[in-house]
């Protein structure tokens, strides 16, 4: 059975906005369809990237998956139960990390937070020790255990938060922008950690992010959501195809020349002797390269693979 099963999932917020007119003090009631008829399911052990532009409905979806928010439409089950109705029971089986804020107790040292979590989640002492040791080693938290959370840097705090979310061996870990604000090295370590977690413990991961490298490094599957509706659900490779993505041939000519004209490719940009030609990602580069080399004096050539960001931007703008 699927671990997460969302059918036609929707969440509408009612907000009151001031009327545009300056004279009126009345507030207008307005509905925001944050998530609108989203259907997807996730099997145990999957690593799913849940992406979309700002305000797409990612965080709202995560809040429904965790039971924080009650859906206003559709059906949702996680591990066989409705999250908002069985929130406290489900809590033992899931882990949540919010990149934007800590789930730890601000004024307490990490160690105290962890010990309290052990009691709250009724984690067996032996299991707790084992997990704590493992995560402290993997995430290099050893020196930080006695530091109050408010004194930790963003990256250190994030590692603490991730440990806190995993001590009770959750079946699924939701991460809402876990890499936000981290430097390149920390991001890399975190991705490595999450990959290990999934491989060794089989933990299901669902993460939102604006850093597509997170997705490329971690997720076989991406779900793209835009304006609350599902725009894509499939493999990362499939997303390239969907976007009608293009590869780019960068040509350095010996001398400046007018735009190159060869069959199967078109010039995107010209800058002195350098020109950028784009051609379909699924076509072979060889004929294009041959045609260019046959008619122009070429100093250098290179091929750029399609950029996932471009693909997604394309997808967003079409939906």
């Amino acid at each position: 059975m699927a671990l997460i099963d969302a059918t036609d999932l929707s969440r509408t917020f009612v907000v009151r906005r001031k009327d545009a007119g300056r004279r009126s003090l009345r507030r207008r009631r307005e509905e925001v369809h944050a998530v609108h008829g989203v259907t997807f399911s996730v099997e145990p052990g999957e690593m799913v990237g849940y992406i979309g532009p700002n305000g797409a409905g990612k965080s709202t979806t995560i809040k429904m998956l965790t039971g924080i928010l009650v859906p206003t439409g559709g059906r949702l089950t996680v591990a066989g139960v409705e999250p908002s109705r069985h929130r406290t029971e489900l809590a033992r089986r899931i882990g949540v990390v919010f990149g934007q804020r800590t789930t730890l107790w601000w004024d307490l040292p990490l160690r105290d937070s962890f010990e309290l979590l052990q009691k709250i989640y009724a984690i067996e002492p032996a299991r707790y020790r084992e997990n704590l040791d493992a995560f402290v080693t993997l995430l290099e938290l050893g020196d930080l255990l006695d530091t109050p959370v408010r004194q930790l840097s963003l990256g250190q705090r994030m590692r603490g938060d991730i440990t806190a979310a995993l001590l009770h061996d959750p079946e699924v870990l939701y991460l809402d922008e876990p890499t936000i604000g981290l430097d390149v090295v920390s991001k890399g370590r975190l991705r490595e950690f999450l990959r290990t977690l999934n491989a060794e413990r089989g933990t299901t991961l669902l993460l939102t992010t604006h850093d597509l490298q997170d997705i490329e490094a971690l997720c076989d599957r991406v779900i793209v959501i835009d304006h609350g509706t599902l725009a894509y659900d499939g493999t990362l490779a499939g997303l390239h195809g969907r976007g009608g993505s293009m590869r780019t041939l960068v040509v350095d000519l010996v001398d400046e020349a007018p735009a190159i004209s060869v069959p199967g490719a078109s010039v995107r940009r010209v800058e002195g002797p350098r020109q950028w030609l784009s051609f379909p990602a699924d076509a072979s580069a060889a004929p294009v390269v041959a045609a260019v080399a046959a008619s122009y004096a070429v100093a250098d050539l290179s091929i750029q693979e399609p950029d996932i960001e471009d693909v997604i931007r394309e997808l967003y703008s079409r939906s």
Binding site: S59, R87, T88, L116
Partner: protein, 271 residues
Amino acid sequence: MADASVVRAAPRQYAWIALMWIRAALAYPASFWTLTVAGAIITGLDFVGIAIMFTTIDTLGDFGLREIALLYGATGVALGLADMAIGSVEQIGHHVRTGSLDTMLTRPVPLLVQVCADRFALRRLGRISQSAVVLAWAAVPIDWTPARVAVTLMMLVAGLGIFFAFFVAFSCIQFWTADASELANAFTYGGNTMTQYPLTVFPREVVLSLTFLLPVAFVNWYPSLYVLGREDPFGMPSWFAFLSPAVALALLALAALAWRTGVRHYTSTGS
């Protein structure tokens, strides 16, 4: 939802969280004791004020200083205990704004337990012990019978329950408007301040409101009249003295309903 196992686990979970905060507070003993003693002195000043008045008057609203001390002590102990046990529930608006409510909602402990135990402040014992001292002083001249002892205990427990319900119910407003904690304060502490005095200093309408609308009169007034062996100055039935537990239970039920509605209504924040 609220099945037996959840209810049974709640006190234990509450204790874990509270103990953690106590330990954290005791890590800085100097600051802890300063705050505790300061709390006792500041609330003690209320009563010193009343006592000073009594250097020029003999009775206030037909009540002597010892009798007022009973009213003062009873409401003080009840409010103090409620405030220590669950006063943190007032912070709900803060939790909504900062998103920590979302975090609490992802933990396997009932939200009310987490919110109430959060930042448990043992230092409030300072205030409670100050009120308890006044209460003990008031108790000296009373002609104690088993019934009066029982009513006194009932008064303290029911008073705790009533303030408990007020704290929770008024804090629920913050699920709708996250910055209404001042309002919650006004009702609960205002109710407490009024009950520090014999209600005979107020007009009849106020006494009726404090009986039927915001029934803080059941915290100390009616049971105290019984303990002091006095007729009700407003002609209320004498059995009102025994009504406090029922009032407390009814208010607690209303508070629970408000709480559930509030949590259900909670819409988190946009970030």
